[in-house]
Amino acid sequence: MAVTLAQAINAALADAMEADDRVLMFGEDVGRLGGVFRVTDGLQARFGEQRCFDTPLAESGIVGTAIGLAMYGWRPIAEMQFDGFTYPAFEQIVSHLAKMPNRSRGTVKLPVTIRIPYGGGIGAVEHHSESPEAYWAHTAGLKVMTPGTPEDGYSMMRAAIADDDPVIFMEPKRRYWMKSEAELPVETEPPRQAVVRREGTDATLVCYGPMVRTALEAAEAADDEGWSLEVLDLRSLAPLDTAALIDSVERTGRVIVIHEAAMTLGLGAEVAARIQERAFYHLESPVLRVTGFDTPYPPAKLEEYWLPDVDRILDAVERSLRY
């Protein structure tokens, strides 16, 4: 049966709530409305107003009360309505959610999942297309996951909720409507493993979330040029699956990292840094980055010029191969 990413995540939430009545889901408009992307559709009707509820319009409040609820013994899933609106919650995420298990010397556990629809490509107004994953991945104490397929949407969400550490779950919103012939429930690889989505020998495209599909399209297109590209889906951005990166580089010798976030200090920086550190002699050309520009996210009509696309990826592949 064809299932979209949004449906898969919705099913994961429902199944987790069914399996464990300590799981709560809350945020802005997640109740009656079912979320602005309908990812929480039906949860309130099914589990009641206390298991799935709307909050006042205050993101720090949402994350901060999630921490308190988790301290009490609930397993909160909190939705940030959009990427750009996680910023009011930054202090609670960085100073408390990330640190409290450590600063409490293990006495406090925070099995909190923060859901964040992120990234561009849907023609939204400003502040609705941000890719803040590097902020979280730089913050020790947080796990950061992002699915690139409906199957992973289901399976990784279940894993995130089951994880006793705090997890930032980044949902590639432009892929909410992407379909798969998936049978739910499905269990894919453990989230911290990067997965080779396509094997190849000439170069590796490292990608995640919204760019998995773009990378696969680029790899297809590259076939015509006679280039065999491997596509590595990171899935977990923190921790990074360093071993999988090294493995792939040992096979292909060339890497292009792709993400929507700005280039400077985006995930590509860390991927490049680790690869040159660990696979120095395997690299036949520099790790290249195909990313958003170092500018604010542009207006909708210009986002196609900003976002990484197949052409830019192929261009980088060519530069890498010719190096």
Partner: protein
């Protein structure tokens, strides 16, 4: 700066919102809010509301036709916006949220420019310094601090301007308006916090937003007077705002106004309000329509006749047509603008990114 702490009782809102016009147009005198508007101005208020509604409707249509990516309608809130903005002078500053088409039209901000944000052409297309009208602000409540800082800045050099910031009932829950009111109170900044309580934050009704008796009861916690008005009554809104503005201008400090209104349309064109509110509720709300009410009042005052009606309709239609044409004709943004105004003296690395895009565009790729 807050040497003399005001009496709490003076700061609390009255038990009933200020209300001057009944839905049928009957006018009630209120000695605290005498009417200081001449016939021309009364008609002007009406005209502005009608034009607002027409342009608003046009924007919804433009969105349906794919000309705008999304649009947040102010239908039903015309009196709240027009009445309040009209109480300012041209030197005063407005810091809007994303729903203040009516306030913008009072300031003669070009609607075509304003709508470019929703069209996705540019992130903004008006110079705030021309009409003293700030950029639309999407992150809820954040602009309250800009309005407060601006007002502090004016006060620091005895510039008598006042700033007014618009936000919604939902916005009152965010930390930023709280901090803004705290600063405003302490620095006696001449800023008016104007809350359009349209009963919803997307799907979340007011009672899920706060347990306060009214939103205006928040003001006392900052040493601000909390006013309430019937936000569908343009005269009441005007009168209450006027008083608060003059108070602020005379150095007595900031104020908070809650205007009771109702969002007649969806939250934005992307929203489906049938999921969370009933037809009955909507029908009930329609009975308090701000435009009909003012028309009834003007009729009772013999200020409304066919000539005026035609004139207003013409103007509304003309403006809507201009907006429509303007949007259809507006150029797409120039991709090279991505790199503009990010830094005044961009680095080499940044310039390389710019050049890469330029080369792509030249190659006919993008």
């Amino acid at each position: 700066m807050s040497e003399d702490v005001p009496e709490a009782i003076e700061l609390l809102p009255p038990s009933e919102p200020v209300h001057l016009l009944d839905p049928d147009g009957t006018y009630h005198e209120d000695p605290d809010h005498p009417l200081d508007l001449d016939d021309g101005q009364l008609r002007e208020l009406y005209r502005l509301m009608v034009v607002t509604r027409k342009v608003d409707r046009e924007a919804i249509n433009l969105q349906r036709q794919g000309q705008l990516g999304v649009y947040a309608s102010c239908m039903g809130q015309e009196a709240a916006q027009v009445g309040s903005a009209y109480a300012l002078t041209a030197a005063d500053w407005i810091f809007p949220s994303y729903r203040e088409l009516g306030a913008a039209l009072v300031r003669e901000v070009d609607a075509v420019g304003l709508l470019q944000l929703y069209r996705g052409t540019w992130l903004s297309d008006h110079d705030p310094y021309v009409h003293n009208f700030g950029l639309m602000s999407i992150p809820i409540g954040t602009q309250a601090l800009h309005a407060t800082g601006f007002a502090m800045g004016a006060r620091f050099e005895d510039n008598p301007l006042v700033t007014m910031v618009y936000f919604g009932d939902g916005g009152t829950s965010e930390g930023d308006p709280h901090e803004a009111m705290t600063f405003a109170g302490v620095f006696k900044a001449p800023v008016i916090f104007f809350v359009q309580n349209n009963q919803y934050a997307i799907s979340v009704p007011l009672k899920r937003q706060t347990a306060a008796p009214t939103l205006a009861h928040k003001a006392v916690g900052y040493g601000l007077p909390g006013y309430r008005c019937d936000g569908n009554d343009v005269l009441a809104t005007y009168a209450v705002t006027r008083k608060a503005v003059e108070r602020a201008r005379s150095g007595e400090g900031p104020a908070f106004i809650e205007a009771l209104t109702y969002r007649m349309e969806a939250h934005t064109t992307s929203d489906d309000p049938t999921r969370y509110r009933s037809k009955e509720e909507l029908e009930e709300a329609a009975k308090t329509d701000p435009i009909a009410r003012m028309r009834n009042y003007l009729t009772q005052r013999d200020l409304y006749d066919d000539t005026f009606e035609n004139e207003v309709d013409e103007q509304a239609k003309d403006t809507a047509t201009t907006v429509r044409a303007g949007i259809y004709d507006a150029p797409h943004g120039d991709p090279m603008e991505l790199f503009e105004h990010v830094y005044r003296d961009p680095s080499g690395y940044f310039e390389e990114q710019r050049e890469r895009l330029r080369a792509e565009l030249a190659g006919g790729e993008g």
